[in-house]
């Protein structure tokens, strides 16, 4: 059946709208289950372990490294203007405003987001979700909700830890290695970063990123085709779509907030 270009466009538009509708319905279902008992605290705690605790290593390590690089690069550039004493401010502001929330979100998407999608997708493949339905248990309530919420809650904490480790990495390089005065580093950092303009913004960003990645990972897993290829597609799709979405929303939030 040959379709004209217009028909294809129409078909795709309808498909897209239907897709968006399904996603909205999914988010709605999660939201509804969130405000209703059973609260599933045990499962939530387990998911926070999987998302948060298991991501600690990569987040803290990357944080320290990124901070060190910032310290190095920042120093080199600032030294040209004789402004090395502002290193703390430069490292701190870059981290708090942008690098912290964005890099943390990208790392967590890759590590925990993909794992989340893979787990749910393989539960679809092995009929575990149908098994739950047959026991009159809603899979969105039992499986999806704790995971999505765990991602939402863990992200700001991981972001804060990333920033702290990065600030320390910058300190190590700037102060111990390159000779910036320790007190000056810390003071310039503390003076430049304010709660209202910077820290509140970073927390807001990381909460939004957490929600987005939590939704994308669980949605991709939940709607995966029940085959091995489907599991793989869900996993890689989560990383790709999740990463792009984080970057896109970073721009949107920055533009709206003025951060």
């Amino acid at each position: 059946m040959k379709l004209t270009a217009l028909e294809t466009l129409g078909f795709r538009t309808v498909n897209l709208v239907a897709h968006l509708g399904r996603m909205a319905a999914f988010i709605g279902a999660i939201a509804m289950q969130t405000v209703r008992p059973p609260w599933r605290v045990r499962r939530f705690v387990g998911e926070v372990f999987d998302v948060g605790v298991l991501s600690l290593a990569i987040v803290c390590l990357s944080g320290a490294t990124v901070g060190a690089v910032l310290g190095l690069q920042g120093y080199t550039t600032l030294a040209r203007f004789g402004a090395e004493n502002s290193l703390g401010a430069v490292v701190g502001l870059s981290l708090v405003r942008e690098l912290g929330p964005v890099l943390t979100a990208l790392l967590v998407t890759g590590r925990a987001g993909s794992a989340m999608a893979a787990e749910i997708a393989s539960m679809v493949t092995t009929e575990q979700l149908d098994g739950l339905r047959m026991m009159s248990i809603d899979p969105v309530d039992f499986v999806v909700k704790p995971k999505a919420l765990a991602m939402l809650v863990s992200m700001p904490m991981l972001n804060a830890l990333f920033i702290c480790f990065a600030l320390f990495g910058g300190y190590l390089v700037g102060v111990e290695l390159l000779g910036v005065d320790g007190g000056t580093y810390v003071t310039s950092m503390e003076n430049a970063i304010t709660w209202e303009d910077d820290v509140a913004g970073t927390l807001l960003k990381s909460v939004i990123f957490g929600g987005l990645v939590g939704f994308i990972a669980t949605y991709r897993g939940y709607t995966a085709t029940p085959t091995s290829a489907g599991v793989s597609a869900a996993t890689t799709g989560t990383v790709v779509v999740g990463s792009v979405t984080v970057l896109l929303f970073d721009y949107i939030i920055t533009a709206l907030w003025g951060v």
Partner: protein, 150 residues
């Protein structure tokens, strides 16, 4: 990890250090402090506020004692700034308020210089003596004018 007391403990620790990191960033680095409303409210009217913004700090001798909470125009179309100040302070009624810049190119803030009167300012009162913001353009303009007129 299987549900266990150990797992719960580890998650608890994670949340604890996560919240501690957030608190550190907010309070120590970001300067968040609990400043509820209910401080001493004072008004100051200026001809020119320059780049003064709300939430700009109010300082005495360089020490932050409050912040600007509102800026609007009064009936005479001059800028009326509302200050929220630590209620424990007793400011003499001839205290003056000036708009200063922190550093050469920094943000603007309000500097209060206490006077010598016995009576103190009460809530809702207006600071009589105010010094408007210095505008670099005007200064340069004056300088140019002055050197021009010879």
């Amino acid at each position: 990890m299987q549900p266990s007391a150990t797992r719960d403990l580890i998650v608890g620790l994670f949340v604890a250090i996560g919240l501690a990191a957030i608190a550190y960033l907010s309070i120590q680095v970001g300067g968040l402090s609990y400043k509820g409303p209910g401080g001493l409210r004072l008004y100051a009217v200026f001809d020119e506020i320059g780049g003064l913004k709300t939430r700009a700090p109010v300082a005495i001798a360089g020490v932050t004692v409050g912040q600007v909470i509102a800026i609007d125009l009064d009936d005479a179309l001059r800028a009326r700034v509302t200050l929220d100040i630590d209620p424990r302070l007793h400011l003499p009624s001839d205290t003056s308020a000036g708009i200063r810049t922190s550093g050469l190119l920094g943000d603007q803030f309000i500097a209060l210089e206490p006077g010598a009167e016995e009576t103190t300012l009460a809530g809702g009162e207006e600071i009589a003596m105010t010094e408007s913001a210095l505008s670099i353009e005007r200064l340069i303009g004056k300088f140019v004018q002055n050197s021009g007129v010879k």
